[in-house]
Symmetry: none
Subunit: 209 residues, 4 copies
């Protein structure tokens, strides 16, 4: 490993440290209430240093989502070629969403929030590209599994992309909805069981009778 490469590694590691610190702070405070100083402090760095790794607060925040999206994509893609039934694959998708939710309960809302109005037009093209790339990778993997289901005669012959949207949207929406109710009603731990119910309903609903 050359010295240049080592430096590159070092830099990536530092970047990840910052992202990890930012995730903690954003999670507790939300995007606007979190300050760069808090994040710097959590990363044991000074505010100025953050700007050596991220163009601005927005891009730091977006990096979180991209990181998660990347992770989500990776996990989802892994499922596609596993030697299990289509039904089980969709069950895995559900578990991936639960894992992500367990990892950070607020990350899904960030994913939605990301490009909705408030969030930026100021994202650099590079970041925007990544966003699209990972997003479509994850989506593509789900579509592939749905197609497999249709091809094997298990699923009804709807537009596969739409069905994938239903899976993704339902999973994410159920997580968010149950989670938001948790905060209102002080109930907990319904997310998992409700997602399981969602899975049952959706898998059943997609099947050819």
């Amino acid at each position: 490993m050359g010295i240049h490469e080592r430096k590159q590694r070092e830099k990536e590691r530092r970047r990840d440290d910052i992202i990890a610190a930012a995730r903690k702070v954003f999670s507790v405070k939300g995007f606007n209430s979190a300050t760069m100083e808090e994040i710097a402090s959590a990363a044991e760095l000074s505010p100025g240093t953050l700007y050596l790794y991220f163009k601005n607060k927005e891009e730091l925040h977006t990096s979180l989502s991209i990181n998660i999206l990347k992770h989500l994509g990776t996990e989802i893609k892994q499922v596609v070629h596993q030697d299990i039934s289509v039904e089980e694959k969709i069950e895995r998708f559900r578990d991936v969403f639960i894992d992500v939710y367990d990892y950070d309960a607020n990350i899904l809302i960030n994913l939605f929030h990301l490009q909705s109005g408030e969030t930026l037009q100021n994202l650099s093209d590079e970041v925007m590209e990544q966003l699209k790339k990972y997003s479509s990778q994850a989506h593509g993997a789900i579509i592939a599994v749905v197609k497999e289901g249709i091809d094997t005669g298990l699923f009804i012959d709807e537009h596969p992309a739409a069905m994938a949207d239903v899976i993704w949207g339902s999973y994410a929406g159920v997580v968010l909805w149950v989670d938001s109710k948790r905060l209102l009603n002080d109930q907990k731990d319904f997310v998992r069981s409700t997602l399981r119910t969602a899975f049952k309903i959706i898998i059943q609903g997609m099947k050819v009778k």
Copy 2:
């Protein structure tokens, strides 16, 4: 109509004007980027006047969501006792979500965003109560229809509240997910058709085979 009553009306109307103006601005800019001055300007009022009707920016913003939630609750409750099949009722729910989406594409994310982390603990108790009230009204109406489905032997015998969560979460999630993709891909108008797919799948999935 007495003078007092007329003034009361007048005041309510003004409040609604502000809410309407705020909705436009928040929709375009998002909560944090929208300024009270912009909202005042959109309502053709001065900034100070907003504070005669709303305690602060936060409460103005929350009022939007409550308004929608109230509307959503009203529409959803109306469905319950209509003389149509359970299946059609759930179809109506889907349409209500589409209507809300058409009315304001960003409002659903506000509903989620509302009590998630960043959004406030500073909401006055009164506002908080309203939030809970309308939220549980809407949810309750969906549960009632699900129960009807179970009782008539149409639906599988799962926990009705969980099934209602799946409906609400899926509908909202699909809307948000497809909408967020719309912004990324500049595609449009898939929301409706995807929601229809979602309906088919979910209604089918809930049915006893």
Copy 3:
């Protein structure tokens, strides 16, 4: 009494009501934290009405001080021609200060505060004149008694105005100082006894040995 005169009376009474309400509010909140709306509310009037009786907040506030100063002047002047010893007269002055303090613990600081920097150059000439008039009336009465003391050989032959300043300043200063300590130390009721000590010392100190 003519109708004009009656109206005049009525107006004065209303003015006094406002002053009374203002005194309560200013006392608790201080000049800047007190709002015209609070004062109006305390006077069971609307904000706009206050401006029919007072040019602005400043002048309303100043009117309080003038009222007190007028009262103080009246009380002090009454002492001058009473058929009691000089010593007793100065004792009466002390009691007048205590009465004023009992009536409103914050009024003395207002009297000092009145024309010090922050308080206005915007006072109307009329108000300014009154201020001077009542102030010098009160001061003049004290001077007269001091002079009487000097003339009768009781007091040392210092500049009478200076001695009167010492009396006034000491009385007021002791009240303020002890009162401000009361707030820091949560002690109470030392004002009276300390003022008595002050009296003893001052009267003794002014006497010819």
Copy 4:
């Protein structure tokens, strides 16, 4: 001197610069009319910088008073153990008040104003503690001298704390009173001579005949 220490120094110096600038502005405008922007401008800093050194306007203002109180306390304590007569010590106290008055004519009213109603309950505990500490130090020193006078048979056997209050209150009150008249009558420079008269009277009044 290490680099850390140098930075510490630098920081203190900056703080003092701000306090000095604030004193000028507060002196002319009073607490409420003075704006943070003016103060920043006077200190040749930007508004935001002030908040790096002081939590808010209130605490900046209080720091002035504490600074003076500290100075007052130091000066007064120095007097206690000097090898001069009790009478001269009390004369020194008078001079200290005159010095403070010369340094900033408005500072004494701030000292009174400080904890009276309007001024804050929002002071941080630390600041509050300092206030109490320096205040009681100064007061304690005066008490010590009064006790010395009583013990040596020079002064009458009154409660020493009360006599100290009379000294402090009278000195401060005379300064304030004469100063406030100065503004009304455009006379000047009577403060000193009147305080001298006050001293004569008080010292004479405290003496055993």
